[in-house]
C-alpha cells in the first residue's frame, strides 16, 4: 500500500465527479462522503477534507444535489446530500468523459514495443511491469473494492 497522495492538480476537476458517483449509492453527509472516497481509492487519494464542502455547496447551488438536515446513527445533526435528476445526468456525462480521458492517457503512458538499443535503463522495465499489472487490475474491477477493515 502506497502512502496517502494529495489530490494532484489534474484530478481537482474530478472531485465533483467523485462526489456525484459516491452519492449515486445513496444520500450521505460530507464526512461519510470523505470516508467513502478514501475507501474506494483504497487510501491512495487523499483529499483535503474541508475542500469537499465548497464543492458540495457548489453542486447544491447548481441543482445537482439536494440537501436536508437529519440525525445520524451517532445522534449528531448532519446535512445529508442526495443526487437530483440533473445530478444523475451530470454524473453520466462525467463518467463518459473520464472513461475517454483516462483511456487516452493510459494509451500514451502504457508500455510500448521494447527499446531497440537494449533494455530500458534506470529500472523503467520494472515500472512498466507494475503499470501493466495495475492497468489490468483496474480493467478487471467493476465495482470499487472495499479496503478490508
Amino acid at each position: 500500500m502506497s502512502s496517502h497522495l494529495p489530490v494532484p492538480e489534474l484530478l481537482r476537476g474530478t472531485l465533483d465527479a467523485m462526489i456525484l458517483r459516491t452519492l449515486d449509492r445513496g444520500p450521505s453527509h460530507g464526512y461519510a462522503i470523505a470516508r467513502a472516497i478514501e475507501r474506494a481509492s483504497r487510501g491512495d487519494l487523499l483529499i483535503e477534507e474541508g475542500s469537499l464542502y465548497p464543492a458540495l455547496h457548489r453542486l447544491l447551488k447548481r441543482g445537482d444535489l439536494s440537501a436536508e438536515w437529519r440525525i445520524t446513527e451517532t445522534g449528531r445533526r448532519a446535512r445529508y446530500y442526495s443526487l437530483s435528476a440533473q445530478g444523475i445526468s451530470h454524473l453520466a456525462d462525467e463518467l463518459r468523459l473520464w472513461a475517454k480521458v483516462s483511456a487516452a492517457v493510459s494509451r500514451v503512458l502504457a508500455p510500448g514495443p521494447a527499446r531497440t538499443d537494449g533494455p530500458a535503463p534506470g529500472g523503467l522495465a520494472e515500472i512498466y511491469g507494475a503499470f501493466t499489472k495495475a492497468t489490468l487490475a483496474a480493467a478487471g474491477s467493476e465495482a470499487p473494492r472495499e479496503v478490508p477493515a
Binding site: Y31, E48, G50, Y53, R58, R77, R79
Partner: protein, 243 residues
C-alpha cells in the same frame, strides 16, 4: 402566492441579517460535524484526544477558508445583485446630478436671455420715446413753418434758412425762412407779435451787414405795420425794443 414569488426572486431581494446568520450557522454546524466525527474515529483508532484533534485539523485543512468559500457560494447571487444595485444607484445618482446641472445652467441661460430681452425692450422703448419726441419736434417745427407761411396749410414748405427774432415779441427765437417772401412785419407777427404797449423800434440787422454798419430801424406803434416793410433774407436778425 407571495411566498412562491419571494422564493423565485430570493436572489434579487436583500438578504435579511437573520437569513445571513442562518447560512453562517448551517455552514459552521456542518463543518463542526465533520471535524467531530473525524476526531471520534481517530480516537477510536487509538489516537489520544489531543493527537486526534490535531490530526483532524490537519486533514480537514483551513476550516475558516473552507467556511468562507461555502458562504461565498451561498451568497454569490445576493452579492452580485447587491453590486448591480449599487452600480444602478450610482448611475442613477450621476444621471440625476448631471440633469440637475444641465437644468440649472439652462435656467441660468434663460434668465440671462430674459435680461437681454428686457435690455433690448428698454432700448426699443427709449428709441420709441426719442422718435416720439422727434415727431413732436417735427410737428412743432411744422407748426412754426405753417405760421411762417402765414398759417396757410399746403403752402410751399421749402425752407431756405433761418431768421432770428429777438426782443419784445411773444416767442423770440430762430425761425425757418419759407421760400415765399417773408416781410419784417409778418416775421414779428409769426413770433407772436409784440409783447409791449406803446411806440416800439424794430431793427433789422442783415446777415451780410458790414462791420460798423448800423442796422435799418423802423418805428411801430400798436398793431400797425411800419411804414417800410422789407423782405427778410436768411441770417437776418430782427430786434424789437423800446424807443
Amino acid at each position: 402566492m407571495i411566498a412562491s414569488l419571494r422564493q423565485k426572486f430570493a436572489p434579487l431581494l436583500p438578504l435579511r441579517s437573520e437569513e445571513r446568520s442562518a447560512i453562517d450557522c448551517e455552514i459552521a454546524l456542518e463543518l463542526a460535524h465533520h471535524l467531530e466525527s473525524l476526531k471520534s474515529d481517530l480516537i477510536s483508532q487509538g489516537h489520544s484526544p489531543t493527537d486526534a484533534a490535531a490530526e483532524a485539523a490537519r486533514r480537514f485543512g483551513p476550516a475558516d477558508a473552507h467556511a468562507g468559500a461555502c458562504r461565498d457560494i451561498a451568497l454569490k447571487e445576493h452579492r452580485m445583485w447587491q453590486k448591480i444595485q449599487i452600480a444602478l444607484i450610482l448611475i442613477l445618482s450621476l444621471a440625476l446630478a448631471a440633469s440637475l446641472t444641465v437644468s440649472l445652467s439652462m435656467s441660468r441661460q434663460q434668465s440671462a436671455l430674459a435680461e437681454a430681452l428686457q435690455a433690448q425692450a428698454d432700448i426699443f422703448r427709449a428709441q420709441a420715446q426719442t422718435s416720439a419726441r422727434r415727431t413732436e419736434d417735427a410737428a412743432a417745427s411744422a407748426a412754426i413753418k405753417s405760421s411762417l407761411d402765414g398759417g396757410v396749410p399746403g403752402a410751399d414748405r421749402q425752407l431756405q434758412g433761418l431768421v432770428y427774432i429777438t426782443g419784445l415779441v411773444a416767442r423770440p427765437g430762430p425761425y425757418s425762412l419759407p421760400t415765399t417772401n417773408l416781410t419784417l412785419w409778418r416775421a414779428v407777427i409769426s413770433a407772436g407779435g409784440v409783447s409791449a404797449e406803446g411806440k416800439l423800434r424794430v431793427t433789422l440787422t442783415r446777415a451780410d451787414a458790414k462791420p460798423g454798419e448800423s442796422p435799418a430801424a423802423f418805428t411801430i406803434e400798436g398793431a400797425s405795420a411800419p411804414a417800410e416793410d422789407p423782405i427778410l433774407r436768411p441770417g437776418d436778425v430782427v430786434s424789437v425794443m423800446r424807443e
